[in-house]
Symmetry: C2
Subunit: 376 residues, 2 copies
């Protein structure tokens, strides 16, 4: 099968680009002397996880219980569920523990530690647990100087079913960065925060076996990772226009795109209608902050390598996308039935609409289809 | 099973609300003396389609080929694929025709009519086809006074494999309306445009058997539908906050919501973290235009009937939602592990993240699970 035969919209994955991105991040981790625990929330694919863990310790990170179950089914035995745990989610994870899978959990609250421990005990399961640290995103987790840090640590240590393993943070505010220097600053902010939290716990008698920051822009730009034991980036496997805007990748490092077909010409409004809309591309417009006028993605030729002028998907409804440009559109070059590719604003969101990747090897042939695990 | 036992995030569907919405729209169509061809792009569920077509002619409308195949498998025999057809999509639809399913297509371009007809002939299939009319959305279709209208009509009439059936429009600009009077104005604009197109074609020797407008706000508010043969609304089955903002429904007419669990407290920033983020809710923020400060959805109590103060999901990342308020949040009322429901901004986008509906009958018991057809 090749690109002409695929039903559209379809999700494409350039394997050589993916492999280069993975090799680059594995190399960064090795240079820093830290482990790489790839976050599989973006790719959600066992095939991609196999590539991403090659040459690393084999541990992965996930964002949903469904991912944990899927990757365990595919032979992954060391899984961090990097999302605040609640008692209601313990039962499914306890089944993985019963199968011998190491499942690491995340907490930031004493009362919740007690409730989770109680549920785990009732199910006869035990878990390694990290404390979530807020390194500046202001979402979840405790600030490094929060007195509750020690309280949660000691609650874990005394819980029986839960074992205190260390600290974890996601420096998500790196997504607001502009350019390499800004990324380096936030990367150091994230490192300093997680290391400070670890030192504080150590000083309180709770040494941290794992000190784990994680966010692609920080992982790409970090100049030092002293005190860190592992990093957990995920988006770097695919990258996207948002990461290009931040300065984490070049356009030709973006490994995924959406194949779409021209279904209409609207010459009066200088728009070309395609069959990739809000569902196929996602409605994430975050990339427009660092990369203005990106709309819902850039329009590339069928090779995926060259943008067609300044063309972008300017508007979307559920199934319709509308290509726009500041110049007259090339209607003759893009007749109804023609195909183009759209580079995604945010690959984590775009990929989630698809059941599988159509894998390319640099040409127009689809060499494989790799499944994904969506849902919860 | 009841709400306490569901894994979150989960999609809930209130069957009594759905049934009232369906009865109201069926009643409107009957009062206007037009057929109701429910658009299944929102619900994408055979069970919902069975309810929506009861008391109507049985015809439905879909937005993807995957929907057409799914509904055909579930016994629906009269399907309008209301999305610009291209030759590449004919083969799968021809298989439905071979099984005796009536499949209606949509076109707005002479060259494309020829290409589609050629492909259909090669496959031995024939289709009824409507011409897409642009009634003001400025997306796809021909304006009623475009001379190409007749050209496309005669191209269909002379194509052999395609039969000219009439006209179709989606007055999507109704989503920009504010209040009933504005909706009535745009509903009449849509009606006038599609009827003008039909009259123009009739005068040119191409009488229209089907004259079909379709958009929920217009269907709710239309005061007259003279000259129209059918309407094709879809969102009305579920409604959402955007429709509430427009004035198409009340909050208690919204039939779907997302069940989510509190996973963290961020007292320093007055935020409560939940396990419904951008994937579970969608990143559609269109509802904020007519309904300011809606964020990514309103936070309701577990009954789904009462909003908790002014709480809304103010921020989302992939799996995290952050509840915000202009007042101090009720942390004690919503401890970690507590559950709330989120009313969606745009139910078509939100529902698409889920494989099935958890059906409720007014209480906390999940009385059934209904599947959905996602993808393409």
């Amino acid at each position: 099968m090749n690109l002409d035969q695929l039903q559209t919209p379809a999700l494409l994955l350039e394997r050589p680009v993916l492999e280069r991105n993975i090799a680059a991040m594995t190399g960064r981790a090795k240079r820093h002397g830290v482990a790489l625990r790839p976050h599989m929330k973006t790719a959600k694919s066992a095939k991609v996880a196999s590539l991403a863990t090659a040459g690393n310790k084999g541990g992965i990170c996930v964002s949903t219980v469904a991912e944990a179950e899927y990757f365990a089914r595919h032979g992954f035995r060391d899984i961090t569920y990097a999302f605040g745990i609640v008692p209601q989610k313990i039962e499914r994870l306890a089944k993985l523990r019963a199968d011998g899978v190491s499942v690491r959990l995340l907490v930031d609250d004493v009362a919740n530690v007690k409730a989770v421990a109680e549920r785990a005990k009732a199910l006869g399961a035990s878990f390694d647990v990290q404390i979530e640290v807020d390194s500046g995103q202001n979402r979840g987790g405790l600030k490094p100087d929060d007195p509750k840090l020690g309280e949660v640590g000691w609650a874990l240590a005394g819980s029986g079913a839960l074992r205190f393993l260390g600290v974890l943070t996601h420096g998500g505010h790196s997504y607001d960065c502009r350019g390499a220097a800004d990324c380096r600053r936030v990367a150091e902010e994230e490192r300093a925060a997680i290391v400070a939290a670890a030192e504080r716990l150590s000083a309180a008698g709770l040494p941290c076996a794992e000190v784990s920051p994680g966010a692609t822009p920080n992982a790409v730009h970090a100049t030092r990772l002293d005190g860190v034991t592992e990093i957990r980036p995920g988006n770097y496997m695919f990258f996207d226009l948002h990461q290009t805007g931040i300065g984490s990748c070049t356009v030709d490092e973006i490994a995924v795109s959406v194949l779409t077909t021209v279904v209409g010409h609207n010459r009066a409004h200088n728009r070309i209608v395609i069959d990739a809309g809000g569902l196929a591309l996602s409605k994430d417009i975050g990339a427009n902050e660092p990369l203005p006028n990106t709309g819902y993605g850039w329009v590339m030729d069928l090779s995926g390598k060259t943008r067609i002028g300044d063309l972008r998907v300017g508007r979307v409804s559920q199934e319709h996308g509308q290509i726009e440009s500041d110049s007259p559109l090339p209607f003759d070059r893009l007749p109804i039935g023609a195909r183009v590719r759209v580079l995604p604003n945010h690959s984590c969101m775009t990929a989630a609409a698809y059941e599988h990747y159509n894998v390319l090897d640099g040409g127009a042939d689809v060499i494989d289809q790799w499944d994904r695990i969506n849902g919860w």
